[in-house]
Subunit: 288 residues, 4 copies
Amino acid sequence: MSSTKKNTAILLIHCPDQKGIVAAISDFLLKNNGNVIDIEQHVETDINHFFMRVEWDLVGFAIPKDKIEEYFATLIGNKYSMQWQLKFSSKKPKMALFVSKMSHCLYDILQRYMSGEWEVEIPLIIGNHENLKYIADRFEIPFYHFPITKATKPEQEAKEIALLREHEVDFVVLARYMQILSDDFVNAFPNQVINIHHSFLPAFIGAKPYHAAHKRGVKIIGATSHYVTADLDEGPIIVQHTNSVSHKDSIKDLIRKGKNLEKMVLSEAIYLQLQHKVLPHNNRTIVF
Amino acid sequence: MSSTKKNTAILLIHCPDQKGIVAAISDFLLKNNGNVIDIEQHVETDINHFFMRVEWDLVGFAIPKDKIEEYFATLIGNKYSMQWQLKFSSKKPKMALFVSKMSHCLYDILQRYMSGEWEVEIPLIIGNHENLKYIADRFEIPFYHFPITKATKPEQEAKEIALLREHEVDFVVLARYMQILSDDFVNAFPNQVINIHHSFLPAFIGAKPYHAAHKRGVKIIGATSHYVTADLDEGPIIVQHTNSVSHKDSIKDLIRKGKNLEKMVLSEAIYLQLQHKVLPHNNRTIVF
Amino acid sequence: MSSTKKNTAILLIHCPDQKGIVAAISDFLLKNNGNVIDIEQHVETDINHFFMRVEWDLVGFAIPKDKIEEYFATLIGNKYSMQWQLKFSSKKPKMALFVSKMSHCLYDILQRYMSGEWEVEIPLIIGNHENLKYIADRFEIPFYHFPITKATKPEQEAKEIALLREHEVDFVVLARYMQILSDDFVNAFPNQVINIHHSFLPAFIGAKPYHAAHKRGVKIIGATSHYVTADLDEGPIIVQHTNSVSHKDSIKDLIRKGKNLEKMVLSEAIYLQLQHKVLPHNNRTIVF
Amino acid sequence: MSSTKKNTAILLIHCPDQKGIVAAISDFLLKNNGNVIDIEQHVETDINHFFMRVEWDLVGFAIPKDKIEEYFATLIGNKYSMQWQLKFSSKKPKMALFVSKMSHCLYDILQRYMSGEWEVEIPLIIGNHENLKYIADRFEIPFYHFPITKATKPEQEAKEIALLREHEVDFVVLARYMQILSDDFVNAFPNQVINIHHSFLPAFIGAKPYHAAHKRGVKIIGATSHYVTADLDEGPIIVQHTNSVSHKDSIKDLIRKGKNLEKMVLSEAIYLQLQHKVLPHNNRTIVF
């Protein structure tokens, strides 16, 4: 079975909690002959806020694909003061990769891409160094080199943004991209830039977390994938994993062991993003 | 906030998958002024079977509590060929404990019970040995001693069943009860007896799993809580956890480390059972 | 097999790294007919420092038990500028427990104590509240109530120290003791007070870590056992574990799930301490 | 710091447990001016058998490299009826890869190889299918295609063995090689063939473990790396890891999640093998 054959629509919704939302949405789908494949809801009780992800089969659905947005807004969305995103499984998301010098996350992503594990297009890879260009070449993906200095950053980032727009990129993955993005860049792609940080945030924010972990003598290390916001390493967390370490592990060992976590945690976040299963809200995520 | 104040109804449902089930149920609740607190569904696609757990507030609900069963059956359940259980959060489940000689699971359960972590009543503890009677005494829970030999088993089990019926026990927990229940006993409480097996099933079925694990030289050990069926250690699995071990761990170490898993895995299964979150079907469980 | 029958000596050693240390120690034991049961060493290469734990059988050992300290100092220890602790498996360590209102760690410890899982004496339990006195009573362990206010703290702690000295306590366990110890108290028991902190340190130092974890939207929670030093939550870490959580987990759920980690992490630290397997050095621990 | 600059010798030893072994070996090294970098021992008490791994600096060591084997045998090894392997960190091990159609383990291995994470040579990749030849080509590693039928198996395996001998391969890694090796092949490389099995052995031996896991309704999946012996999936286990799954995971999901475990578990076993840290004995491994 290949997921390419799925022809579904996905709604990611949130709004103030009110009686009747589930009934309204399931009734809307039923009346229009939409077969619900998956429906999941969550209420954040402390802020009285409602979240939902619903996926239904488009085969036989009465409302034409390009009218769903309008009909949903009119009949349901506006009534309940909802915010929503509408996605189609038939449209492969476009993902851009940003890299520096380390190859482990890049290879992990490209293997999944090549083997068909993911439904995604990778129109381009951007590096602030040229070290990994040869990998992009091997996989026949266009590689763009944007060296960045403090002076050239605004100009270079503007070019990157233009390039990403031109390729109609849906989201950006920082695959151990060792360069802080400016607020302008981040604001151009709100909750569309996924980073991997090599610690179990909020511990060891900033540079050299493995060195800091070794110095503190922790018995676990971790990795965190999160959406990038203007506050460094403070964005909504998508996935975290940890692993045991001991006094025997040198900083070099922590780095080696940490790479396993980084690969897994980043790829899991990408997978969830591709399935339209992550809904960021304030500084947290609902992961359906 | 105490969960004792919750006044909700819970429906656990399964039936052949059909269009419109979610809409029918959410509409039924909405029309009768029932505020949905939690709704979760799952479709087992390989067998085309639908599962749902829905919990709603009884405050203001139009149908009287003692009529909900009848109304649901008439209006929804029978129409969709559903099987269902209706539960009320206001009714504390009654749980009986079966023990032998080891105290770790028993203490873990009793601590949670005493500290108010769980909403449960424990009307009695049954032991095939008297070793742990002193603990029951300390916690002021009636303890019944039913020594079992091959010859006396049918008779003793019949007495146990009668005692459980008399106390209106909802489910039985085998807290390292080292005695196999007869098919008659198991059939008297279908999917109402929870066991803890000290291995990551299906590995190391039967007696002395830690000895077998040591002999095989595994690098992980585990524990499994499951509903008891007539097939030993083959019932639907509720919770499993594992832990790393090494060549340094003797059998004694495996037993010591395993106890931590056993306590956690059994108590997690009990918690899920108390929340009415486990729906066994065939030889698997849906854990909402 | 019971570990009570072991009659061994244990040396915990550290010193600047030098050639020949392992040979010197193993030769010292061999020449005096000491059968090595376990020997483990570690070199912290960045500070060029050597650590060792060696355990040998006292049966047939040529040097009398009460002379080992002197002989080792003269023949080996002083020569290599070592610091060391000498322990005997035949001497049960004495452990005092400090508690407040939460019972989960206390029960977990007492169950292991009562069932013979650990070789330890618990001469007393100290509470800054009386809430858990009934548990101490049930287990027939003397309970002392020391209510603490800002004004009475120095006086009350002085009494506690005197009481601990009187009972010849080897180490103190803070089993969710919700009161910060003064520097004077900490200095009276250097690396002899073990605390459980309910987060994966260094994340969420200080009060209410589960609330902070929920607010930050982390996908893992953790617990940390560590030696208490004058810097709050900054002492050498002994054991850490983490567990996955999701957006579905309320603060109450985090607290409930966290308790499992706290129990396990604290009891594991106590077990290691009882085996004389932890060697703190600077702000880290070697866990043999 | 690069590990390529290490110039050390490693002895992996096992023999019946006797008094004085540690002293004899550490004395042998000290007398010949060998600085011990790491020494670890283990006694399997139930069979009274001693195991050791010792690594020392060759710089300044009095015995010439090519005489160490002889001297050790004469002075220590034979005296204590030891079996041992002598390894040098300066000699990069040669590893052959066997693959079929799945690329995830292969890419994971090649990324670590290319990035210098491991000290290893990969002289050749062998496939029973040609599907992954393009990857070998990209990484410029010779690829040999040996299609295997029941009839051609003896002949093809004989050619493979000859090829491995010709390249002086130290060990073979089956990176999801979906073909059972004959006893003759296995016996030609005793404890030199590492396999990855996609379950937590001994559960789900044989083909299609994820299908079996799904059918059994387990809540954890796992992966196991082990040395290949004549008994299928029964060889000494090197590394195992597990991961949580739920009723929501289809067989396809289990396969996807399992691949993460397979990559990690296989690469961890290879790393340990490259460090000469694994000592198989009977059907178990000592992992120093």
